[in-house]
Subunit: 241 residues, 2 copies
């Protein structure tokens, strides 16, 4: 089992990759530079009580296009293990790392800092401003800060934007999902970047699952009634290709 990267090691890797992108003339790296990169910072993780919420936050970050999550607070293996297992089975190189101090983590971040909080600016007003700011930045790196329960007041003034997702108390996991969905304009849901490394083909499995659910197979005649099931089975097998 690998050791988890510390926050400063993580910062080094993204600086290196951004520097490489800046030097590079190839379209691959230039394309990468155009993409908004989100790193999630999870504040105040407490053992046991928060384990499942933290795991959900990590998986949502990964599934909706963020590149990494940094856990502040108690160091804890369950979330790290879950992320590793999902990476292995479902692909991608989403990273998880740990920082002992949220204060240093926010202070040392060089890109844009966005904090999700009920007391912020409504998301529909904030997103256009954030995008405007990112346009002028070479590396489009966002540190997206989400809290557990009480967030220290200091955080509000350390960031560039305090953003409110709705005007009612709900869930940091939901707020995170909606922010990523808005910043990526819904495209993250259509993305198939995260393809599994292992021989196991997830899309094939899905296709089979769908065929079983609908009692269709290759010999079933295509009628109007089962057209939908066919089209869906074909959809999953086409993105799997």
């Amino acid at each position: 089992m690998h050791r988890v990267k510390t926050y400063s090691e993580y910062l080094e890797t993204i600086e290196m990759s951004n520097a490489r992108a800046a030097r590079s003339k190839t379209s691959h790296y230039n394309q990468k530079r155009e993409v908004i990169q989100v790193t999630v910072l999870r504040l105040g993780h407490r053992l046991v009580r928060d384990t499942r919420m933290s795991t959900h936050a990590a998986l949502v970050s990964r599934a909706l296009g963020a590149r990494a999550i940094i856990m502040c607070g108690a160091e804890e293996d369950d979330t790290i293990d879950s992320v590793r297992r999902v990476n292995e089975r479902w692909g991608g190189d989403f990273q998880i790392s740990h920082s002992n101090s949220w204060r240093e983590a926010i202070r040392d971040w060089k890109g844009l800092k966005v904090h999700l909080t009920m007391y912020g600016e409504p998301i529909d007003r904030a997103i256009p401003k954030i995008k405007q700011r990112l346009k002028k930045m070479k590396a489009k790196e966002i540190l997206l800060i989400i809290g557990a329960e009480k967030v220290p007041k200091e955080v509000y003034s350390m960031v560039d934007y305090n953003v409110a997702v709705g005007s009612q108390p709900h869930s940091e996991v939901a707020a995170l999902a909606l922010f990523l969905d808005r910043i990526y304009e819904g495209k993250e849901l259509q993305s198939h970047d995260l393809l599994p490394k292992k021989s196991l083909n997830v899309y094939e499995r899905r296709k089979l699952m769908y065929e079983r659910l609908n009692n269709i197979n290759e010999k079933t005649p295509r009628t109007k009634k089962n057209e939908d099931a066919f089209s869906l089975a074909n959809f999953w097998s086409s993105v799997g290709g």
Copy 2:
């Protein structure tokens, strides 16, 4: 403390309210009939382990425009209490109820049944179909089913739509948020329907909080630098009016 409504009592109340709406000629009820109503069904809640996830699911349902959540599985007071406290402090009449049998709950539902699952149809393809179906229905009632861990196979064939939010494993809370956001076209985040009943004015508190954070008050000169803080403080005070 009030008793929690059973599922069949809940079904009665919505049938009565829909019947009243159908008879009524007043714009208030007709308007209500035009609105898509979502009831969330949470499958397989297990004690302790799921309490916080269930509370988050309930608060997300409430904050993003659903009318109620039905908990299946273990009966449990923490989530119910949380929802009550939030209703009291933050307004609205979001309901929480309990059912002993998910099978009966799904079977007895008269409106549309939608199940959120990784193995479903991609959300961007499903939402237009669902809206098309709802157009033809008198009462636009959706039962939105979300699972905890393993969902019984039977569920897939009992519903009208199996919908996948993204093509990667993440979180039922995030999937719920993104589905509600898509079905309400983002309008739920701008809504201020849920105004607190109590004298405590949340928007005033927010305005003060924002002024304090930005060190502005009524006597501060409006310069370009603090224009944003002013505009935000005014925003919160205007929606509070």
